[in-house]
């Protein structure tokens, strides 16, 4: 097995974790990342739910593990094609670079939903409508949240399910991590601006993680975050740049209008941009949501529908950091089995 070569596509946390585990097992591993840095989306996040820890510390420790285990990391290289070449695979990058491997692990991650598509929410039109991604980036860069007028917001509305569970935008699945992201961000706002009222407009609170419900409790008890069950129909900018939103308080059965200083849209996760390219020239397929399809959702989650090509992390479906890392480790087990069971 030791002379086998695995190419890992995508140097997010899934790719980094899998690459280092495989290398420690003695395999030759090339980790191919299209950006100048590894770490993927975590490079943009300020703090991680559920423990408010630093994504930077996590990414750095994964980078050290990757390096120390002897992974060959290639930067600024985007893979556009995986083609079978006999028993091996040929990977092509845009700049004509080629890689050869005995097995491929696709860890190309997810895309953030483009909130301008949901035009009734005014993203890109109204300065005080931002996304959860913008929130993380701003907090990381400036450590504070201001309205476009430069003032401290006194009222913020956080909108769940933007770009998820919505047939109108073509995404009927749940993105899984945005409910808890919203609660985390609500707590952060409340800690930063204790006088600011924060409202979460949700449809269902999907707090599946072991620590998630306690954050919800904390948000209500300690921070007085208001949770309103109703989905936004639209947002409109007023002359003073504040935002008027319309929803139904479905538990009261009453239409509701509210004016807030800022709106934060909890944007969902979509299949990664290169997914449609990567499945060409091989037998890989996508599931009904456009994410990479597993050979079996129960017992072969990391196996694609093409023998020899495996998958890890959010290229398969939305997941949080800890699940992504566990999922990456499970992918390495499947790859090792694949080599062990294959006749030389």
């Amino acid at each position: 097995m030791n002379n086998k070569h695995v190419a890992v596509i995508g140097g997010g946390i899934a790719g980094m974790e899998a690459a280092s585990v495989l290398a420690r097992q003695g395999l030759k591993v090339t980790l191919i990342e299209k950006q100048a840095n590894t770490g993927g989306k975590l490079n943009d996040w300020d703090h991680l739910f559920p423990d408010f820890s630093s994504p930077e510390v996590l990414v750095n420790s994964l980078a050290t593990k990757t390096k120390d285990s002897g992974v060959n990391t290639v930067y600024n290289t985007e893979i556009s094609r995986i083609e079978r070449a006999g028993k091996r695979f040929e990977l092509r990058a845009n700049q004509d670079a080629r890689f050869y491997a005995d097995a491929v692990l696709v860890a190309s991650g997810f895309n953030v939903f483009d909130a301008t598509i949901k035009e009734e929410y005014g993203y890109g039109l109204f300065g005080n409508v931002i996304t959860s991604v913008d929130f993380e980036k701003r907090m990381k860069k400036h450590g504070q949240l201001h309205t476009i007028q430069g003032t401290d917001p006194k009222r913020v509305a956080i909108i769940h399910c933007v770009g998820s569970r919505d047939a109108k935008v073509g995404n009927t699945y749940c993105s899984k991590v945005c409910c808890i992201t919203g609660i985390k961000q609500a707590i952060e706002i409340s800690e930063m601006l204790p006088d600011c009222e924060v409202f979460c407009f949700y449809m269902d609170l999907r707090l599946y993680g072991s620590k998630f419900d306690s954050l919800y409790l904390q948000a209500q008890k300690r921070h007085k975050i208001q949770f309103i069950r109703g989905r936004l129909s639209e947002a409109a900018e007023r002359a003073d740049k504040s935002i008027q939103i319309k929803a139904e308080d479905t538990l009261q059965g009453r239409p509701l209008r509210m004016t807030v200083d800022m709106v934060i849209l909890l944007v969902g996760m979509e299949p990664g941009a290169s997914t449609s390219q990567l499945i060409q020239k091989n037998q890989m397929t996508v599931d009904e949501n456009g994410f990479l399809k597993s050979a079996n959702v129960h017992c072969a989650r990391n196996q694609s529908t093409q023998e020899g090509i495996f998958m890890a992390g959010t290229a398969i479906c939305p997941m949080a950091v800890n699940e992504t890392i566990e999922n990456a480790r499970s992918a390495t087990t499947e790859i090792i089995h694949f080599f062990e069971n294959r006749r030389p």
Binding site: C161, R165, A167, R231, S233, A247
Partner: protein, 244 residues
């Protein structure tokens, strides 16, 4: 004989197969895939802003298949508040359209006679009498001669003047009121009117007019609005509806 007895006798209140009858209407297939109770339709609905009206709960009630609740809707004012603007269709994240669900409920309310149980529902009779008659008589839903100032105070004082000088006014703005040949408000040819009549006949429109008339008569009798022979006096009933 009470109205309900009368209706039951004719087998019109078929509560037992309400669900089947709703589902038989193709508009329900289009209008209700599966509702997730999100409230976007109510949030966007102009009628919900002014009335005790909640398209979300209508979608949920029809989805539930609960006979009593659906029957109550058919007999309620609620289903007549919708303005058919179809804004709900543009926003529903499940591609439902409460406006279409309402269409189906209205039709069933008309067919079963449930509409006479609510004030808004009873107005169906006036609508058939005005718009319903206009379309067959003139080929227009609203015709200037039908907008008599006395019964249409909402048209304002200028309308009275327009009404009294109708032919001059319409000619002055380039219309061809009741004239042959092309132009706005032109006379609809007898051939076209015949076709229109045929369409209403074949599509069941005329039958619906009759059904609405029939149940309205029963209601008139129930209210004691009768002539010397004990038959429904629909002039009295019309006055009753106008003042209700």
């Amino acid at each position: 004989m009470g109205i309900c007895q009368a209706l039951h006798k004719q087998g019109s209140f078929m509560y037992s197969d309400l669900n089947q009858r709703l589902k038989a209407d193709v508009r329900l297939e289009e209008g209700l895939q599966a509702c997730m109770n999100c409230g976007i339709c109510t949030a966007i609905c102009p009628a919900a802003e002014f009335y005790e009206y909640d398209p979300r709960s209508i979608a949920i009630t029809v989805q539930s298949g609960n006979h009593e609740k659906i029957a109550a809707l058919l007999e309620s004012d609620t289903i007549w508040y919708c303005g058919q603007c179809m804004s709900c269709k543009t926003r529903c994240p499940r591609n439902n359209c409460p406006g279409l669900i309402i269409n189906v409920l209205r039709k069933l309310s008309q067919e079963t006679g449930a509409f006479i149980k609510s004030r808004m529902g009873r107005q169906q009779y006036l609508i058939v009498k005005s718009i319903g008659a206009n379309i067959l008589q003139f080929g227009y839903c609203v015709h200037p001669t039908s907008l008599v100032p006395a019964t249409h105070p909402e048209q304002g004082p200028v309308w009275r003047w327009v009404y009294e000088n109708m032919h001059e006014v319409y000619a002055a703005v380039g219309a061809n009121l009741d004239g042959d040949g092309p132009g706005a408000m032109r006379k609809i040819s007898p051939t076209d009117l015949k076709e229109l009549h045929q369409i209403f006949k074949v599509s069941g429109g005329l039958k619906l007019y009759q059904t609405i008339g029939h149940f309205s008569q029963l209601k008139a009798i129930e209210l004691g609005l009768t002539d010397e022979n004990g038959d429904a006096d629909m002039e009295k009933y019309t006055q009753y509806l106008l003042n209700e």
